[in-house]
Symmetry: C2
Subunit: 498 residues, 2 copies
């Protein structure tokens, strides 16, 4: 079947041909997961242009069998990938997949519906509203952010999209009062630990780059943003005739896993009529465990909260939950109502309660992401997912303790979740050389192909980040990377010791 020429009478969704091709991919991926720890974690072949040279200059004229295509994936593409599903991937934050996340993604891609307006797929829109309420409840979010409490949620592709949408909502609420020319007076606030895409988002919605306040954090607050510092910055801006618009708090920053104090920042934001967004992209997943829900304390003061199930929650990319206290503020900024999307013949069926999710996001078209998150929640259950989170936290705890016990290393900031930030101590090199030493250590580890870790710079110091969270990552993989780090440190330190 797979080898027939398809040009003449393409039947692109013939069930038999579909099942044949799809089963070949299932087998291919099962084999990939079986062998993924045999690949260098970070792509071994990093020469730009390598793949382009291997591939033909144009698309083929005639269709090819799936087995040939898969052979090319194996030979040409896999060696050039960085393997995010490897159990020894500790870089950035995890983007872990799972059998359930993949099954959900298959259902989404296979049904291939576009629930942009209610009638375009009612059950898809409604499942989304149910599943975001389920997630919000699991995280212990306040009722006012859930549909059941007058707020509501939506699944977006990324935190960046969520931030752009809420920034636009806050901006338009302000400009409705002040007039559009006041856009140059609007000021947004974040810390020096806030994700870079916040500034990108603010710039996208037209806030002048000179109106981003990047507030410095220090080790004294664990690199969390303090309400005092926010107040000082806001007061300065207000005195200059500027308008405080939006404050972004982060629970689990990218660099260090720091936690901003949501309640204090919420009170500060309210005092100045600012929109408070809580970005819990990575660490939000941990809040399904009661012992981590304290990090979201004060979320009832937030206008919006987001977290990414596609990071640490076994939900294959992409999936970002955004909850808002006032759906009206969001839809005021994002609604369109062209004729071709009006629901003829479906009015009078209780339309007011129906959600047109196109008005909750940047794009019109959208995928059926809800079924993916729903399958993950159903297949593993809250108990299974909590066990998954706790397993990684326990592993990271072990790593932190072990690093701290080795006198050559220091833990740079106390671990909060499953991210450990550490470095070789300065006393093993001149002050100037310490960064170089750690940089060499990182390079050696990654070049080995046995693990992939990334870095951060805090207070001018180069630190190594180890983020535990892979679906296949077990204690032995973390023990392995520790062994690798020790051996690489030996090697690197030897060069500095004479």
């Amino acid at each position: 079947m797979g080898s027939l020429p398809l040009d003449a009478s393409l039947r692109p969704l013939d069930p038999e041909a579909f099942a044949g091709d799809s089963r070949a991919i299932v087998d291919f991926l099962a084999e990939y997961y079986r062998d993924v720890d045999k690949y260098p974690v970070r792509a071994a072949d990093l020469e730009p242009g390598r793949l382009r040279k291997l591939l033909p200059e144009a698309a083929p004229e005639h269709g090819e069998p799936m087995e040939d295509i898969l052979e090319d994936v194996r030979r040409d593409i896999l060696p050039g990938l960085t393997h995010w599903q490897s159990p020894s991937f500790f870089a950035y934050f995890p983007m872990n997949g799972s059998a359930a996340g993949f099954a959900g993604e298959m259902l989404s891609a296979g049904l291939n519906v576009a629930p942009f307006v209610w009638v375009a797929s009612p059950a898809a829109a409604e499942l989304e509203s149910v599943v975001v309420d389920w997630m919000g409840t699991l995280l212990g979010l306040p009722q006012r952010l859930l549909f059941s409490g007058g707020g509501g949620g939506v699944l977006q592709g990324s935190t960046c999209e969520a931030v752009v949408c809420t920034l636009a909502a806050a901006r338009d609420r302000a400009l409705a009062r002040l007039g559009h020319e006041s856009i140059v007076k609007l000021v947004v606030y974040a810390s020096d630990q806030t994700h870079a895409t916040f500034q990108k988002g603010a710039r996208l919605v037209g806030i002048p780059p000179s109106n981003f306040r990047v507030i410095r954090t220090t080790s004294a607050s664990g690199y969390g943003l303090t309400a005092d510092d926010v107040r000082a910055a806001v007061d300065r801006d207000v005195a200059r005739g500027l308008v405080p618009l939006y404050l972004c708090a982060t629970v689990g920053t990218t660099g260090l896993g720091a936690v901003d104090p949501v309640r204090e920042l919420g009170e500060e934001a309210r005092r100045h009529g600012m929109w408070l967004h809580v970005d819990a992209a990575y660490a939000g997943s941990a809040a399904i465990c009661p012992e981590f829900q304290g990090t979201l304390d004060g979320a009832e003061l937030a206008d919006s909260v987001s977290m990414n199930p596609h990071k640490w929650f076994l939900t294959n990319a992409d999936c970002c939950c955004l909850w808002v206290a006032s759906p009206g503020a969001l839809t005021s900024a994002l609604s369109t109502d062209p004729e071709y999307l009006k629901n003829v013949g479906t009015d009078g069926t209780g339309k007011p309660a129906a959600i047109d999710y196109k008005d909750w996001q940047i794009s019109l078209s959208r995928r059926f992401r809800a079924i993916k998150l729903w399958v993950v929640l159903r297949r593993y259950g809250a108990v299974g997912l909590r066990a998954h989170i706790r397993r990684h936290v326990t592993t990271a705890k072990w790593f932190e303790r072990t690093v701290a016990a080795d006198e050559r290393f220091e833990v740079v900031v106390p671990r909060k979740f499953s991210l450990v930030c550490f470095r070789l101590r300065e006393r093993f090199a001149g002050d100037d050389a310490a960064d170089e030493l750690n940089r060499e250590l990182l390079t050696a580890v990654n070049a080995s192909g046995r693990a992939f870790v990334t870095h951060f710079v805090v207070d001018g110091k180069f630190v190594i980040r180890l983020a535990v969270g892979g679906a296949m990552t077990e204690m032995r993989h973390v023990m392995d990377v520790w062994e690798l780090l020790q051996a690489s440190a030996d090697h690197v330190l030897r060069r500095y010791s004479y």
Copy 2:
């Protein structure tokens, strides 16, 4: 395996468990495609709140077997979906899937890599740059929009994202010259046929809503935007001290399938230093056939062009190609360079040629969409894909001719691609009643469950749109919907005839 409780020792990517769950979904979807024409095309049960009532109030505590989950999909979710893959789905524009598109999506979701910076998955970034060049070449785009000619392309999730990114690029290019406070002077131009998301995008990037020029089109130009009308609008704005920023031309508008004259509009845009974007979301797919490439004539004058393989090109959602003549203009507006994304230890490998695609889009995180489009192109080949497009065009031609031959109906605007716009003639009802008549006809057809069509309003007239493009749609399905339309027309007209 599937029924074991998973709470205790979740192994989310165990290859055996993965293969078991995934094969169950393949079988489920193959059965779905086999039976999809038995479901009412538009969701039968449109009562908001129906699904919420059927589902539990919270996520389950314990994991459940896949077979139970699929049983619930069958019972609770499928009846509430509008079936976009039904051969009798003629609404909006198609969003057709295919075995190859699905296989590509499985590879993307299964490998689950995030190629946001080069090192995070070099082969994924590079395959993307290759595949957008392949697509551009197939469409006959000018060299300057391809990497091979100094431009370049990126895969986004939707046209809306592409429009937001290019608007931001155009805006920042202008504001670098004029200063940020001039944002209130920037004017964007489109026609009354341009997709509503263009206005949404312009508003998102901070263009004042009062600076959107919606230029009226008429039947004289086939509802295409004329250069004369653009010039008149621009001259008025320039005289008022405003700054023309961006002109959006559409090849294949949503309402009527109209085509704006790209070359003339490009010349006009150049005259005023405006960014010209060509939105070929739907009809761009047709340009793989030489007989349709004329619609993109003049694209060498465009700053950017976009089209959606996820519409009519057998590439399951989501996938939008965006090509730009000046990648630097795009990345100037969208770049970020935080420490945690810097590529330590990979410099000196020719990094300048490597692409960090995060700087070509709104979000940081991104899916490996390139492999999906690549599998579609490989599996079906250009010959197969052209046959697919031509089959739909031929079918739509038959439908147009048949409707025109029935004296009760009129074709409202000549068909250009696979979209036919028609209505019951006015003489069968009083002028006021004609719209109501067609509205009733539409409602009757959709309520039957045997087909789903949507509508548009042009020159105050309510018209019915029939967009051919489903992966399973054959001539017999179009003949069926014509029969249904005739029978429904008989029924509706009978009520008006006395």
